[in-house]
Subunit: 410 residues, 2 copies
């Protein structure tokens, strides 16, 4: 097989851990596989480099900041190659420009456009493990770019796609993706198998262990992703295309996003362009809007509700008041509630099972939790509730949908 392994910052955070990773990669090769390893910067290193550059420039979306922060992964790639040789194997490091990881020029959040897998195949032909610096690429001008926080996951899956690898292993310090945050729900289970779509919808559960763009990449190029622990041999969570038996699991997991603010604009003229103007003004101000709901129109007017980060709440009100005084009656038509939380129940099985939404609402109602907003998609139901109720709500839903029970084919 051809296997890509990606190790995160905590997995390569010390000399001893690098030795452990070297042995793990070498064992995979010695089991008869070609192995490419993608590495992050040693934990803490990216922050150290960002702190240095922030002495001169606050913004990170800068060509020179990318020159600086990309050295973190470069050092790990060199060190791991040495560690693999020390362990008796052979390895060669590759930087972004040496594998021609071509990206756009959006510094600090560049997107991968293409990769030249030929140098890696040449490396395998020599019996060597290829060690690739994650997180970095170069644009068409030859400048170094970086892919944003967690970008090494995307490098890993993209390298796997370019190589036509059998799968991509994402090594981290947790055992996989869980049905809910184990700190809140002690009997949360590890999910053995989950679809790309569910994984994207479980963003807040998975974002800490797997970058969403890596999931998108895996979905587009059909790369199976195995999220697992660096420090255990246990199977983790496979993120894959939807398979038959997945459909039988109605709800895969429960995720929550805290610290949101709900904003309502009352009595907006229900005419073309109203929504455009409101949300364009927020976008221009760099405020990210999450959930949007528009109620039924009445008398040619409608109410429009949406959520933003709690941190953006005050500025959001200011922007709407000053940019759209006609739509917001100079702010008098604005109402808001903060902090609130978004709670999501996700599962591909919802597509073929009715009644999931009703069951969710009943469970929350019995727990005395009021729903402020509701939004549904094919495989996800999200509700906005008071921030302080979110832990109770997660526990109630986790139990109500039987997620603590072992998975059985029903």
């Amino acid at each position: 097989m051809l296997i890509v392994q990606k190790y995160g910052g905590t997995s390569v955070g010390s000399i001893d851990k690098l030795r452990h990773v070297a042995k793990r990669a070498l064992a995979t090769q010695q089991a008869g596989n070609d192995v490419a390893v993608v590495v992050s910067a040693m934990s803490g290193e990216t922050n150290r480099l960002l702190a240095l550059s922030s002495q001169f420039r606050e913004n990170v979306d800068d060509r020179e900041v990318d020159v600086i922060v990309s050295t973190g992964e470069q050092v790990t790639a060199g060190l791991l190659s040495l560690a693999i040789r020390e362990a008796g194997g052979d390895a060669k490091s590759f930087l972004g420009h040496q594998v021609k990881i071509l990206t756009d020029s959006a510094h600090a959040k560049a997107r991968i456009q293409s990769i030249d897998a030929a140098p890696l195949k040449g490396c395998f032909d020599q019996g060597k493990i290829a060690v690739i610096a994650g997180f970095q690429g170069q644009d068409s001008e030859g400048s170094i770019t970086t892919l944003g926080r967690g970008g090494s996951d995307t490098t890993g899956v993209a390298i796997a796609a370019a190589l036509g690898a059998d799968h991509c292993e994402i090594y981290t310090d947790v055992e996989g993706i869980f049905t809910a945050d184990p700190r809140i729900v002690p009997d949360a289970r590890k999910i053995p198998r989950i679809s790309y779509e569910e994984m994207l919808d479980l963003a807040s559960l998975g974002a800490k262990v797997l970058q969403l763009r890596a999931v998108e990449f895996g979905m587009n190029y059909h790369v199976p992703i195995h999220v697992r622990s660096t420090f255990s041999d246990a199977e983790g969570t496979w993120v894959t295309d939807i398979e038959e038996d997945m459909e039988q699991v109605v709800v895969s997991g429960i995720a929550a996003v805290r610290d949101e603010a709900k904003v309502t604009v009352r009595h907006v003229p229900d005419s073309p362009g109203s929504a455009y103007r409101l949300f364009q003004s927020l976008s221009d101000a760099g405020i990210v809007v999450d959930m949007i709901i528009q109620s039924q129109s009445l008398d040619g007017h409608t109410d429009m509700s949406f959520t933003v980060s709690h941190l953006d709440h005050k500025r959001c009100i200011e922007v709407l008041t000053t940019s759209c005084p006609d739509l917001t009656d100079s702010g008098k038509a604005l109402a808001s509630d903060t902090p609130v939380a978004k709670l999501s129940v996700v599962g591909v099985g919802m597509r073929s099972h009715s009644g999931v939404a009703g069951k969710m609402f009943r469970i929350l109602s019995e727990a005395g939790i009021n729903l402020q907003m509701i939004s549904t998609s094919e495989i996800k139901i999200s509700v906005i509730i008071k921030e302080e109720l979110v832990d109770d709500a997660i526990r109630a839903l986790h139990k109500g949908f039987g997620l603590h029970l072992p998975v059985t084919a029903s």
Copy 2:
């Protein structure tokens, strides 16, 4: 003018110092010049990176060690570019591969073969200062290489040669090259102008401030080098082609190399191959031989004396005893004295002035210093003396040749 400035590790060793360097480079540009700046790693950084890689590998002549240590200069290049922008200018950083600094593949001690100056000229055309990571290049396979300790000096002079720059300024923490070590001779003078050849012969005086290969590069491509202090506006020392008035200064400076060992092989057959075998065996053992002297042949035999580092003395004796038992009578023909010091008087004026050697020997004799070996070249006279006498000898010669006096055209 087109000026290349190179700043060493202590000159860019902190955020404040980077700000100072940024202002200095910007002022040079604002005076109407195109400016390329070559930077070293922040002081201490290269040692930190070498300590990391030495956890896995002792040797530094390794592809992956170069991947690791080259990040030091990369970070400085990015930071200085940001600092120049912060100061109101504009700048762009370049790594070895982005200026196509092509080298051979001798990792940790690569030699520059060619440079593509076009990207730098494009940078000047946009009104930007070009900031180049020193010390690094890439070989024909696209692997990162480094040039060895002090290699950023060589990068600076090589970039100046490739650009056809008017001169290369080497910024350091001392004011220039002195007639002798000021810690030993308090009234040592700064040398205003010195030839490349003298600079090479004054190695031990200059090696701490200017890498010898940079001097060779300057000599071959006729790049005037101005060694000066980052923290002062005073003129430093110009290292240039020989000019008419230089010939009038008979002795330019006095240098000493301490901690050497003198080894003599007595009664060596004066036949082809004897010297070859002795010195090849030392070379194979990685022992560097400095001065070599062969006395007159007598009865088809000769005595051969040479110096090695005091640290290599014991091993040198072992190697010669075991590798050439016939030539050294299994070691019995070996005699040695350690530690000794090599004392050199250097000056291009010697070529046209006779009697310098005689005067040197008289001064040392009057100071009661015995000479163990003597070696002369066109512009240098070197003697080996007891280590403990070297400070007295330097002071006697410095005074005897009038180096403490102001330079006047004679």
